[in-house]
C-alpha cells in the first residue's frame, strides 16, 4: 500500500467457455496486460480486431518500475487515446544534469528542436500508465481476463491452442494469432522452449521511491562517484505526486534483502539530500539486469513483443518505450495479413525491423552501462578523464554517457523502404520515424503527427497551388480505393480546402523544411508514421509500387 496511490483490483470473471465447457476461437489473443500488451490490445481494437487479453494477475504494476516515457512512445499513446492523460499526470522535463564528485560537469536539453507537440520525455509511475491503458481497453471492448495464466501452448499451422488456468480450473482457447507480451521472464517463451541470448551485467541497483517536499526542479540529476555514495552512481528524478525516484548503484556483492531494509535505505537518502529535508519512503526494490534478445520475434503465429522479445539495461529508458514501438510496428501489419491484403511474410519484417531496433537499443544501453559502471581500471580511468574534461570542453561533454535517452530507430535497412531516386537532404529518409511539426486544420492549430498514422498508408502532397491540381487530384483520389488504400493529404503554405482530400496548412513552413519538400514533392507514409518513400514528382504507378513493396505484395 502506497501513500500516494491505491492499487486497483480488477475483478476476475469466470470465462464463458470455461463455464459452458465450450470451445472458442479468437482472431487475436494477447498474453500480458502490461503497457506493451495493452498497447497492442488497444491498437487491435482501433483496427476493428476483436481481442482477448490474458493476465495472470489482477492489478497494475507493483511499484513505480518504468518511469520514463519518451517522445515517440507518447506520440503512439496519443494515437491510442491515452497520451493526454499520461502527459497531464506526468512530470515533463527536458534538462538533465550530470555531476562528478561534487561538481556539475554537464547538462543537456533533450529536445533542442522546438515546435514538436511532445517533450523529449515525461516521468510517470508505471502503475498510472497501466491504469489509463486498462481503462482505455475497457472503453474499447477488449475482452480482459484477469487471473488467467497460460500453462500450455500448442502451435498448429493455422492456429495456436492455449491451456489456461483460472481460479476455477483450466480451460482451452484457440487463437489465429498469439501476441506474447508476458515480460522478461516470458512463460510463453519458456513453454515454447525458445532461447533469449545476451549479456548479464554483474551489478545491482537499489530503487527507492520517496515522497518529499524537496525543492528540486523537474530535471534529471545523475551523479558519478558522489561524496555521499563513493565509487558508485546515483540517479534522481521526479515523478507524479511529488514522488521522487532515486537509483543507487550498489555493486554486485551487495545483499539485496539487506539493502532493501528501511534502516539501510533511509541513511543513504539522508546522506544524499542532507538531513534537513523531510521525506517518506514509499517503495524500495533491488534489481539486476540483462541485455539480450530472441533471435526472431516471430515464430509462426506467435509474435513476441516488449521485454518478452528483448531486454535492455534501464539506462536510457529503452524497455517500455521500445515495447510500445514494437506494437506500433506490428498491429497494422497483422491487420493487413488477417484481411488477406498482405502475405504472412510481412510479419517477418515486424521481426527484422524490431530486431534492428532492439540491437540499437541494446547497443546504446550497454554502452551507457559500461560508462556508468566501468568494469576495468582502464575503463574507469577513461570515464573519469572524460568527466574531468567535460567541465571545460564540448567534445568531452558529448562523450559523457549517463544514458542515451530513448529515441526511435531509423529503419534505414528495411526491405519495406523504397530507396530514393530523387535528391533529398535532411533526415526524413525512407525508414525514418516522422518528425512532428505544427499544422493548421480548418483554422485550428494542430500537430502533424496527430493528423497521421493509424489505419492506413498516407501520401503527403506538397503544393501551394492546390486549386490548380486538375486531373492530378483524380489520380490522387483513385489511390483511396486501392486494395491497400492510400489517403492523399495536401500540405500547403496556404490555408484552404480541396474536394476529396484533407489539407494541412504548413503554418510555419516547418513540415516542408523538416521533410525537405518543394512544390510537387510527395512522401508516402506507413501507418506507423515512418517514411516509406518520397519523390520530387507525383507518379501514381510509383506510389503503388512503393505500397506493394511496403506490404510485401511485390
Amino acid at each position: 500500500m502506497l501513500k500516494t496511490y491505491t492499487y486497483p483490483k480488477f475483478a476476475y470473471v469466470q470465462p464463458e467457455e470455461q463455464k459452458n465447457r465450450s470451445a472458442a476461437r479468437y482472431p487475436v489473443v494477447i498474453v500480458g496486460a502490461g503497457p506493451v500488451g495493452m498497447a497492442a490490445a488497444i491498437d487491435c481494437r482501433l483496427h476493428g480486431i476483436p481481442v482477448v487479453l490474458l493476465d495472470e494477475d489482477d492489478t497494475v504494476s507493483i511499484g513505480s518500475r518504468g518511469v520514463c516515457y519518451a517522445k515517440r512512445a507518447l506520440e503512439i499513446l496519443d494515437r491510442l487515446g491515452v497520451g493526454d492523460r499520461v502527459v497531464d499526470k506526468g512530470v515533463s522535463w527536458n534538462v538533465g544534469r550530470t555531476f562528478f564528485h561534487e561538481e556539475e560537469v554537464f547538462n543537456f536539453n533533450l529536445l533542442p528542436e522546438p515546435d514538436h507537440k511532445r517533450p523529449g520525455m515525461i516521468n510517470l509511475q508505471q502503475y498510472y500508465l497501466e491504469q489509463y491503458l486498462v481503462e482505455r481497453c475497457v472503453e474499447l471492448g477488449v475482452d480482459m481476463r484477469w487471473k488467467n495464466r497460460v500453462v500450455s501452448v500448442q502451435r498448429m499451422s493455422d492456429q495456436v491452442r492455449l491451456t489456461i488456468e483460472t481460479p476455477d480450473g483450466t480451460y482451452g482457447i484457440e487463437a489465429d494469432w498469439l501476441i506474447a507480451a508476458d515480460g522478461a521472464k516470458s512463460p510463453i517463451r519458456k513453454l515454447m522452449n525458445l532461447e533469449v541470448e545476451g549479456k548479464i551485467f554483474h551489478d545491482r541497483f537499489l530503487i527507492a521511491d520517496v515522497v518529499m517536499k524537496a525543492d528540486f526542479p523537474a530535471e534529471r540529476w545523475f551523479w558519478f562517484d558522489p561524496p555521499f555514495h563513493p565509487n558508485q552512481s546515483v540517479l534522481l528524478h521526479r515523478q507524479a505526486d511529488n514522488v521522487w525516484r532515486i537509483d543507487f548503484q550498489l555493486g554486485w556483492d551487495a545483499d539485496p534483502e539487506e539493502e532493501k531494509k528501511p534502516e539501510k535505505v533511509i541513511p543513504r537518502i539522508k546522506a544524499m539530500l542532507g538531513d534537513e529535508r523531510e521525506f517518506e519512503l514509499e517503495w524500495v526494490s533491488v534489481y539486476t539486469f540483462q541485455c539480450r534478445r530472441m533471435q526472431e520475434f516471430r515464430h509462426g503465429r506467435v509474435l513476441f513483443v516488449g521485454d518478452a522479445a528483448h531486454q535492455v539495461s534501464p539506462f536510457g529508458a529503452r524497455g517500455a518505450n521500445s515495447g510500445i514501438q514494437d506494437t506500433d510496428n506490428l498491429i497494422w501489419k497483422l491487420k493487413l495479413v488477417m484481411d488477406g491484403k498482405a502475405p504472412e511474410k510481412l510479419l517477418d519484417t515486424y521481426s527484422s525491423e524490431r530486431v534492428a531496433a532492439a540491437d540499437e537499443n541494446i547497443m546504446n544501453s550497454t554502452r551507457s552501462t559500461d560508462f556508468i559502471t566501468p568494469k576495468s581500471n582502464a575503463s574507469r580511468l577513461f570515464r573519469n578523464a572524460v568527466l574531468t574534461l567535460a567541465e571545460h570542453h564540448a567534445f568531452a561533454r558529448a562523450l559523457v554517457n549517463s544514458g542515451r535517452l530513448s529515441v526511435p530507430a531509423f529503419l534505414t535497412d528495411s526491405p519495406l523502404n523504397t530507396p530514393d531516386e530523387d535528391e533529398f537532404s535532411g533526415r526524413m529518409v525512407p525508414g525514418a520515424p516522422m518528425d512532428d511539426a505544427p499544422v493548421g486544420v480548418d483554422g485550428r492549430k494542430e500537430w502533424l503527427l496527430d493528423q497521421l498514422g493509424g489505419k492506413g498508408f498516407q501520401l503527403l502532397y506538397f503544393t501551394d497551388v492546390a486549386e490548380r491540381l486538375g486531373d492530378k487530384l483524380d489520380r490522387l483520389r483513385e489511390l483511396t480505393v486501392d486494395a491497400v488504400p492510400v489517403e492523399p493529404i495536401i500540405v500547403s503554405e496556404k490555408a484552404g480546402s480541396v474536394a476529396g482530400a484533407r489539407v494541412l496548412h504548413d503554418l510555419q513552413h516547418l513540415v516542408a523544411k523538416r521533410y525537405d519538400a518543394r512544390e510537387g514533392s510527395v512522401i508516402l507514409l506507413r501507418p506507423d508514421q515512418h517514411v516509406a518513400a518520397r519523390w520530387r514528382k507525383f507518379d501514381a504507378h510509383k506510389v503503388r509500387a512503393a505500397v506493394a513493396r511496403a506490404t510485401c505484395n511485390q
Binding site: 576495468s376 582502464a378 574534461l389 567534445f395 558529448a398 554517457n401
Partner: protein, 74 residues
Amino acid sequence: MALTLTPNFSEPGKRYFRAFSPGDDFYEMLIDTHRDLDDTQSALLNAKLILLLANHVGDLSVLREALALARQDI
C-alpha cells in the same frame, strides 16, 4: 590550426542520425581495445596510442595546446 575541442568524430561514408552516435562508437572501440589487459599493459597501450596520434596530428602548436590542457586539473 588550433586544437579542436568541439565534437569531431565521424566516419567517412557513414550517416549518423543521432549526435551522440559517432562519439559513442569511438568510446566503445577505445574501451574494447583495452579488454583483458592488466594495468601495466593498458598504460603501455595508452602511451603507444598517444604517440601514434601525435605523429598523425604533427603540428607542434596543436600538440603543445593539447599537452597543456591535459595537464590541467591534475
